[in-house]
Symmetry: C2
Subunit: 383 residues, 2 copies
């Protein structure tokens, strides 16, 4: 039953057949008309999900590479930045900034809670000298399943004057992000999360204010130099170095699917599925890490019941019931597991996943009344 595995992963995610077929296409001339046309359409469609009319460029990199390029293009060594972290990927953004020689003030919020807006307000208000050049924010914290209030953080950042550099790796395509409306300066995402494609492409939006910062940046750079990408894109609809063509084929097909369904419908589907999943998990008697008020519509962290052998149980869930989930990360590694529900995820996946969780938990001695979780989710769908 391996082929029918229920993949509830936080990325790379289940990749629909249409996208995988697109990725099995033959190569074309790297500087030819086909690839120019594909680049144009890719950027046009990416702008729709970024909700921006500003520049969007794409790179051969994982999301982490995209985060690094956001820093080295807009800042200079020694610049002060405020890193707002509420989990493993917020920590990573801060770690990259430290490794790149920035002067990093890390404000770490407890795992499972969002970035506290009042706290951000105070820090930025106290910075009267305007030493803070950029605020680093994780939109959707994949390690905990928290969505931060990006609109509010961006508002405070703009009032202060710093740049907002946003990790939207696991939000674009499944969590609403309004790049222009919220005034986000650099938004970084990747191909293998909400957009259901092969990993290998990082996509980045850049505001006019960010472009001004790019001109002042003193970081040595070549591969990450976005000015070169902008120039090649504007003059030739090409990238300066060989792009990840197969991943481009896949990403374009993913965008076709998203836009055919309607992006707002896709976002609504994620919200509905999250509601059903959370209802099901709670009916089973499992404790969720994150409060509904700031729960992510793309990943849900669940606390292990204390009474079961969590490692063996999650293995059984995978190998006997064919439901793949992800382990905890960072300080949550021993206490939680994560259910990904981003991309090509429907009602069926939630029902199958909850059923597997019920049956396997019962096998491991956790008291479950069979069917309660599934029924609770069904009720949400029936509404």
């Amino acid at each position: 039953m391996k082929e029918k595995r229920c993949m509830l992963l936080p990325g790379p995610v289940y990749t629909p057949e249409r996208i995988r077929n697109a990725m099995s296409k033959q190569m074309v001339e790297r500087r030819g008309e086909d690839i120019k046309q594909l680049s144009k359409e890719l950027i046009r469609d990416l702008k729709k999900v970024f909700k921006t009319e500003r520049d969007v460029l794409f790179f051969v990199a994982s999301g982490t590479g995209g985060m690094e390029l956001a820093l080295v293009n807009t800042l200079s060594p020694g610049d002060k930045v405020l890193a707002l972290s509420c989990g493993n990927f917020g920590d990573r953004f801060a770690d990259i900034a430290v490794a790149m020689g920035l002067n990093v003030v890390v404000e770490r919020f407890p795992s499972g809670k969002p970035v506290d807006i009042d706290c951000v307000r105070k820090i930025l208000q106290k910075d009267e000298e305007k030493d803070i050049k950029a605020v680093l924010i994780t939109h959707n914290e994949t390690s905990t399943g928290v969505v931060n209030d990006l609109e509010a953080i961006s508002q405070l950042t703009r009032e202060h004057g710093a740049l907002s550099l946003v990790d939207a790796v696991s939000s674009l395509g499944c969590v609403d992000i309004r790049t222009d409306e919220w005034g986000l300066d650099v938004v970084v995402s990747a191909s293998q999360k909400g957009l259901m494609s092969a990993p290998g492409i990082a996509m980045v939006s850049i505001s006019p204010k960010a472009w001004e910062a790019v001109e002042k940046s003193r970081y040595p750079k070549y591969y990450w130099d976005i000015r070169r990408f902008k120039k090649f894109n504007e003059e030739k609809s090409l990238t300066p170095y060989t792009p990840a063509m197969t991943a481009m084929y896949g990403l374009k097909e993913a965008l076709n699917m998203v836009l055919e369904e309607g992006y707002e419908n896709v976002l609504e589907r994620h919200r509905l599925i999250t509601k059903a999943l959370r209802a099901g998990l709670e009916a089973i008697g499992l404790e969720l890490l994150v409060d509904e008020a700031y729960a992510s519509p793309s990943v849900t962290a669940v606390k292990f019941p204390e009474t079961i052998d969590s490692t063996a149980w999650r293995k059984a869930l995978r190998n006997k019931y064919w439901v793949s989930t992800a382990g905890g990360l960072g300080d949550l590694i021993d206490t939680t597991f994560r259910i990904g529900h981003m991309g090509y995820i429907g009602r069926e996946d939630i029902i199958t996943g909850l059923s597997g969780i019920e049956l396997s938990l019962r096998e491991y001695g956790f008291p479950v009344e069979i069917g309660t979780g599934v029924a609770a989710a069904q009720k949400v769908f029936a509404e």
Copy 2:
């Protein structure tokens, strides 16, 4: 007839169905056993084509990214390096080094000629203070179709004491490179050239001497930090950030094909095909850019006949005769075009390509006795 296009490209290249099918596989858990096993086998097989028993690591990047990471991991800002260039990609390696703030001495040899060994000897002998920390070398210069004498350059570099940093992007998989035997310190390649896969993976081999340099490097880095990749690989058979899984599937299948055919047979096939192609082109009356003594077995640059409208002709070759070639690069852009013959290229491609060249040249007024080029190539195959 688009599907039967004869793709004589210098990369990304024609990707055989087996590899494309492999790339259409479903995603798996990013930290699961399947991906660990794949990583192990990928590195094991890559070592066979690198001809090394030392470390090989892989990254989400194009070849250019691999070149940048070779520099920032083994050197420090301001270090003096000798960049040996005989074409566009040698120039690029030097450009990256300049952009990254190294003190770059560029020795540029004429396009179409190889790096002159005596010249390298003199430069390195004159550097009695051992200021030169690394020598940057292009193994197979894709813009001209020249193979440099890497063994001799490496020998001189070792005698001097500098590190050899080798761009093998378009040689690995189709031009013999003996990493350990020749004592190469860092060898950089990519997935979309000799190894016939999707672009998106850069592969790098690292010698013990290079690892010593890594420990002393003062470049700020995170995404490119190979120590982190070594640690994750040794401890978990994983990469620290999401790998390009689809490209990994493809690259593994490509290595399966190469090792099934026998790597030495693959190299011999490239040499035979090059001989036939060159014989055919010369019989047609075309002038080759590069002397046989240092001609690349993976790409051949051909001078445009002065009497024809070269742009219109190459378009006709592509659109009427379905033979795709590549344009010239750098200072050769107006005077040459390039025929790629790397990867999954057989006798049939050479015959089809030469036939298309004959027919289209004749149409554009170049005096060709139909069949001469094809016959000359056939004679090589008949030997």
